[in-house]
């Protein structure tokens, strides 16, 4: 008979015996029972299926079990002392929460001098994350309102505090980049990009970084940010004749040049900008087909 803890597809039957599956299933079942009793504080022998699923998902996150993973997961479950591993996992999560708090403080202190409501609201919400994060029972959840869109979103495979840490790391990269420029120039560019840049859910980094790459393409002064219509024609002249791979290489080289000019040495920050440069190609290609780069590289207002 199948049951709640019977893997139905993740583990090839030839790799493990039925006895292994049954033993792992019983072990997980009993462990989940202990987690559930702890959650209900012994008041209730039963919980809603949805609650049990969330408790189980949380336990898998803490125990670092991926039930979609290789058959070795099953062997690990049989070998581990689940309670001990869970306690160690909780300690790790507690350390990560402290890391997230430090990153949040750094992110708040590094906010660029350009207003954006979703950025402020998101940072405020992440500030209350440690209080709202019930990591002993729902560690995989992200109890925050994260409205501010990053240039490169955090993968949804990351859960709980891992997601928050990665989000804050990325936001710090973006803030660090934006703070290299004169706020007035950035605001002028953002005005041209989106007149309601303060109120709408836009990313502040992307238009600024795009223009910085554009300036680097024509060997201009990166810090000036502004691109005139004549300069857009020069950029088009450079990129238009190039095949795709070469155009992407050129854009990525420009991104590297921007990083060097701005003294950004952190590999992850450099890679972040290079990813943006690579992602610009489809937009540039479409804009060149339409005859101009007005919608990609902007002139400050």
């Amino acid at each position: 008979m199948k049951n709640e803890l019977t893997p139905t597809g993740a583990i090839p039957p030839q790799e493990v015996t039925d006895a292994d599956i049954m033993a792992a299933q019983v072990k997980l079942w009993e462990f989940l029972g202990r987690r559930t009793r702890s959650y209900t504080m012994g008041d209730s022998s039963s919980v809603r299926v949805e609650t049990a699923q969330e408790l189980f998902a949380s336990a898998c996150y803490i125990l670092r079990i991926d039930l979609n993973g290789s058959p070795s997961v099953l062997r690990s479950i049989l070998d581990w002392d689940l309670d001990r591993r869970f306690a160690e996992g909780i300690t790790t999560v507690e350390r990560k929460i402290q890391t997230a708090q430090r990153l949040w403080q750094a992110a708040c202190l590094s906010v660029p001098q350009m207003e954006n409501i979703s950025l402020s609201a998101t940072l405020r919400s992440i500030g209350s994350f440690p209080k709202r994060y019930h990591y002993r029972y729902f560690a995989h959840e992200i109890p925050c309102d994260i409205d501010y869109q990053l240039c490169h979103p955090v993968p949804e495979t990351l859960l709980g505090v891992d997601y928050i840490i990665e989000y804050l790391r990325r936001i710090l990269i973006e803030h660090g980049f934006l703070r290299c420029f004169e706020p007035a120039l950035c605001i002028g560019l953002l005005d041209a990009y989106c007149p309601d840049y303060k109120g709408l859910l836009i990313n502040l980094y992307e238009p600024i970084a795009t223009n910085a790459i554009g300036v680097a393409l024509i060997n201009g002064d990166t810090l000036k940010l502004d691109i005139s219509s004549q300069e857009r024609v020069r950029i088009a002249t450079i990129l238009d004749p190039l095949p795709k791979s070469q155009a992407i290489n050129t854009l990525q080289s420009a991104a590297s040049a921007v990083c060097t000019a701005l003294k950004i040495h952190q590999p992850v920050a450099r890679q972040y900008l290079r990813r943006l440069a690579e992602g610009l190609y489809p937009r540039i290609h479409a804009a060149l087909s339409a005859g101009n780069l007005d919608g990609v590289f902007l002139s400050c207002k």
């Binding site: 008979m1 989940l32 022998s45 299926v49 189980f56």
Partner: protein, 164 residues
């Protein structure tokens, strides 16, 4: 997100070992209920155990360790409205009612609190009527718990009965 993965990977059917454990628990209950002239035969235990899992499934709940049947037997075996003839049927109904009202109360009542309320009404105002227990008294109680219609509940005779 994890919940979705689990939903895809696991079916929600009771474990065989749980069935066996539930049967053993009920067997142990006969000792207590025997003092009041109530006992369950093996086939009755099996039916009640199956009914338990069916009730859990239909109410979307999952149970670990000891089921609630043992507690229901302990609480209700001294009821004047339960006889050997209606014992199995009543236990089955009480079990269904219990899980249903665990959901209806939004899980704010502990097992013991809900069973205490059920027993009080069953032996009191309901006079052994399971329909009255489920259809009137517990509905009123859960409406109050959910945050509305307190006046109706306060003036309800069931409440007076329960408070006695």
């Amino acid at each position: 997100m994890g919940g979705v993965i689990i939903e895809q990977k696991f079916s929600l059917v009771p474990v065989e070992m749980q069935m066996a454990a539930a049967m053993q628990e009920l067997d142990a209950c006969n000792e207590l209920s025997g003092r009041f002239g109530l006992a369950l035969k093996q086939e009755q235990m099996l039916r009640l155990t199956e009914q338990r899992f069916q009730a859990l499934k239909s109410t979307g709940r999952i149970e670990f360790g000891e089921g609630v049947l043992k507690k229901l037997v302990s609480a209700f075996c001294d009821s004047p409205y339960i006889t050997q003839q209606n014992y199995e049927e009543t236990l089955g109904e009480l079990q269904d009612i219990f899980y249903y009202f665990k959901n209806e109360s939004g899980d704010t009542l502990s097992d013991d609190e809900l069973i205490e309320a059920m027993k009080s009404v069953f032996d009191g105002k309901a006079q052994g009527s399971l329909e009255y227990l489920a259809g009137t008294a517990l509905e009123n109680l859960c409406r109050v718990i959910r945050g509305g219609e307190t006046e109706e509940y306060e003036s309800s005779p069931d409440e007076e009965e329960y408070e006695e």
